[in-house]
Symmetry: C2
Subunit: 594 residues, 2 copies
């Protein structure tokens, strides 16, 4: 079984659901049109299928290796990375001034889905570069942008994000790495960072580390953190590489999955570093690019889910057991048994929902930068902010769930490593954890993103969902309509309830107790909304005779699958949202018997 | 972090929820009383904690090994097995005539939870012996019961169940292994079996294989399968071991988890075998013991879930990040953050629900054998049949989900193998697959167990749930009552709908499309019922001043946690139950674009 990039589905999601063509109307993407979209997805898909997918299982088996203060990428990965860089894939959405192609971020996200699906461990390397590029682009000095950015955009160098310390994970305010001025404008960086993805490797000549640390006079806590840049090899004035900088990996983690992605413990021992942005504003600088990284991780969830789905579907079409209730065939493909068909259909529906949520977040991010007026940019920024934690958490939870179902479809073979399904189950498990755990995403949603504009962004989404509900009356009747209507009402109730509890100083624990269920509710219902819009678009294309009718009919059925199997959760999410902090407080140590 | 057997919770579940004391009233267990219950659980717990738990991670790392046609157990496992056998643990519920202790199966199940939790790979070895013992006890000849049973009950020999072939997994009717009469009452067994758990090892002198195969004149399909017994070493008339029999492992699988449990490919090459039970009734004979094996697997789900929960709870009490909204403490244990507390509380609630479902299934099985009248035995048999697929599937799905949440609670550390949480996530994944996949369980529930008595067993459960609902009015008001009421109504609606569709010849696909959601609904609601009964019992003990008040209050809160976070799913399950087969049929190859 090989990976097949879902080019047609990706193009459909971008154009029919996420609204990428609205971007063209801004005039900010002169090089973008529908032909470019298809060409980019085709080429990315082909590269992912032919170069990256074949390295996935060997990379899992061999892993990246550490010895004597250096990391060696898994066999074949350095060469694949060279091809990736040569293809210009790192620069898809980077500014032309830095040598990028200045295409929409949303298109880049779609292209990267195929990379993550083909080889999640590989995809992390350019994904972290993109995050570093984004940080430098937003906060770097002119010198930094001139000296480093083009070589990161070209893929000649990679980037790494260095935040976590042993005592400072979700609570970055607790970090203790220090940066002392050297008197020449540079700083001397000291400390240990953990979980540094692709923090060291042999695939490029240089690696740019973006590191959070404290200046000597910095206040305690989150307001005393600054952002620094440290090159693995010092860069001379003429751009050539000089001495090795004073930092190195001291080990890599032995992990559940993504074995070919080295997760480094990095030691900085007076490393030469440059300040990026303003002193003591490092955390804020980091967060400006965190949105992009988070939706990127959401896309990883989509990619690994689609890979697991494809693998399971191929098996279900091939494996024959029992008599089909539909065809009467003895020794029928298990695909023709309703329970297997149901599992695969719900997997597919969730994948398309998650994909559309992530790509819509990408379009919102592009619009937030490029829409015509400040009001429109603010509107889209609000949409991006609201959708980002949902895109990250809901999609990565779906990734784990779907990878688990992928194993299940295979029966006993799914538990055997050489089948491949188990790797997806292992790899998928990291995505709900990094770039802010999904619990942190939920707290970010209810604690900040929802209320920062008084709920305006959420209310705008609710209003748009109601408009779609009206349109849906032309396509369905009965249950598929009722379920969406009930689900929208649940979102409305929950949103108002949380805004109300948030306004009450005594309501903080209630809001936090509701966080997870509220995020899941939003994901479930917004996902349904995306599929509903897809169904409406499919209907329009069918009417216009534009596209493969059976496949377009599939989009119409897919919403119904989702409505029957997912939208119904809305009422249970509502129950959990209202459970209140006091109930959880009662579940203390003594109640649990510890 | 070491494992602590939840002796108090197990005893509570057996006595306050599953109703084990009703068994004593049958007079069938003269050696059983409350003191014996506590002594057995204490001793089993201690053995699991001290002998089995320390071998869990080393066993994962080293695994069982295969070389030159023989399997070697992971280091320390053979010795641990000898201690297990010497402790008499295999014979807890076996008949006294075979050297067993003739205690209730339900108590044995509870004791085995601690074995599975401590070391799931180890637990499979005696669990498969129990299944083989059960099959021999029910269908063996007097000779077989005399010659083999006592040595299996004592643990001197282990048993293996040999069903699956490459082309015959869920569809055992497709198996092709053959058994030819030798003319002396024995048979010559030929064929290949896969996924044979502990099919070979070096922990005992002999292994008894229970093998499904076809007689030469057997009809095709499931009605031509017979059950055979083949000893690894032939047993002479005086009971001593003779020649090596003509079967051997030809390899073991490289699996996602339970590395210390050898999963063998077995080759039988004219092996000497004995018929067990009647010719061509092998599948039925196998199924008489399948109920017991399935609830045993359910208990594995409970065990691995509790292990993952304990591991995550210990981490949450230890790991300090951020300020608690409850205590105001900076650098608070993450246990004092509502979202972490919620996660752990829901994990705990599901574990106790699953445990009570499995133990209630065990009590029903005991009552089905030992209740006073044929009517009562039939009633309990119906209860056992109904609960068994739910106990197996719901508990093992919970095992996977809770093990995944256990990883999540650990954040980045959860993804690092040496933390241990990842092993539970890997190990847990097999339980929804073997002993009939959870999809097969769901089909068994709606296709057979629900309707075999015209729905009488399901209706009896519904009536009892309504009685509990009435009692609950004395303990709670508002939401915790309403949620249970709504959930019971959903079970009632769904049950009647499925019985109705099942009565319609055109309804077969509708029933199968509903199977998974119906099983999940039943598990969710019966689990809530169990916790509600636990809460009522806790209240009674509180009133009587009998037991640790904080812990008993915890049982009362736990039902409320479950009602808010799980019972609400009932309405969404109902939506999925009604989706119908036609909708799934529309999701064909073309619709999916393959």
């Amino acid at each position: 079984m090989t990976y097949r990039a879902p080019v047609r589905d990706l193009a459909f999601s971008l154009t029919a659901v996420a609204g990428i063509d609205d971007l063209a109307a801004t005039g900010a993407f002169p090089d973008y049109d529908g032909d470019v979209l298809n060409a980019v997805l085709e080429a990315a898909g082909q590269f992912s299928e032919e170069v990256l997918a074949p390295l996935n299982r060997p990379g899992d088996l061999a892993g990246a290796t550490y010895a004597n203060g250096a990391v060696t990428a898994a066999p074949g990965f350095a060469d694949a990375y060279s091809q990736f860089a040569a293809g210009g894939w790192t620069g898809l959405a980077a500014p032309a001034s830095a040598g990028g192609q200045a295409l929409p971020k949303a298109l880049e996200l779609a292209a990267f889905e195929t990379v993550h699906a083909a080889n999640m461990a590989f995809g992390l390397c350019p994904m972290l570069s993109l995050a570093a590029i984004e940080a430098l682009e937003a906060h770097g000095t002119e010198h930094q942008k001139t000296a480093y950015l083009p070589r990161m955009v070209s893929g000649e160098w990679t980037g790494a994000m260095c935040l976590t310390e042993p005592q400072a994970g979700s609570d970055l305010g607790a970090l203790t790495s220090t940066a002392t001025p050297n008197g020449d404008g540079t700083y001397s960086l000291t400390g240990q960072k953990i979980y540094i993805t692709w923090g060291d490797h042999d695939a490029t000549d240089n690696i740019v580390h973006m590191v959070l640390a404290r200046l000597p006079d910095a206040p305690a806590g989150p307001k005393g953190i600054s952002l620094f840049l440290a090159n693995k090899f010092l860069v001379k004035a003429d751009g050539t590489l000089g001495d090795r900088n004073a930092f190195r990996p001291v080990g890599i983690e032995h992990k559940l999955g993504i074995h070919a992605s080295p997760t480094c413990v990095m030691q900085y021992e007076g490393a030469t570093a440059e300040l990026v942005g303003r002193p003591n504003e490092g955390l804020a600088h980091m967060f400006t690019m965190m949105n992009a990284a988070r939706v990127g991780v959401g896309m990883e969830g989509v990619g690994i889910a689609d890979r697991a789905y494809q693998h399971a579907l191929a098996y279900a079409l091939d494996r024959r057991q029992g008599r089909s209730v539909w065809t009467g065939e003895a020794g029928a493909p298990i695909f023709d048994h309703p329970d297997v068909r149901r599992t695969l259909s719900v997997m597919k529906a969730k994948i398309e929902a998650a994909r559309a949520i992530c790509l819509s977040t990408g379009v919102a991010a592009d619009m937030a930068r490029h829409a015509a007026t400040p009001e429109m940019r603010a509107h889209w920024k609000g949409r991006e902010d609201l959708l980002t934690p949902i895109a990250k958490a809901w999609s990565t939870d779906a990734g784990v769930e779907i990878a688990s179902q992928g194993v299940q479809i295979h029966g006993g073979m799914g538990f055997v490593e050489e089948t491949g399904a188990a790797q997806f189950y292992r790899d998928a498990r990291i995505a709900p954890i990094y770039e802010g755990t999904n619990g942190i995403q939920a707290m970010d949603l209810v604690g900040r993103k929802l209320s920062q504009d008084g709920g305006a962004s959420a209310k705008a989404v609710i209003a748009e969902m109601k408009a779609t509900l009206t349109d849906l009356g032309g396509l369905y009747s009965g249950k598929p309509i009722e379920r969406f209507k009930t689900a929208i009402a649940a979102v409305e109730d929950a949103t108002l309830w949380i805004l109300d509890r948030k306004a009450d100083p005594a309501g903080a624990a209630d809001v936090l107790a509701a966080a997870d269920a509220y995020l899941k509710l939003m994901g479930d219902v917004i996902g349904g909304w995306m599929l509903a819009r897809g169904a409406l678009a499919a209907k329009a294309r069918l009417t216009a005779g534009d596209g493969d009718p059976a496949w377009l009919e599939g989009k119409i059925a897919l919403y119904e699958i989702y409505a029957a199997n997912v939208l119904g959760h809305a009422s249970s999410r509502l129950a959990a949202i209202g459970q209140g902090g006091d109930l959880l407080k009662r579940m203390g140590r003594e109640a649990l018997g510890v």
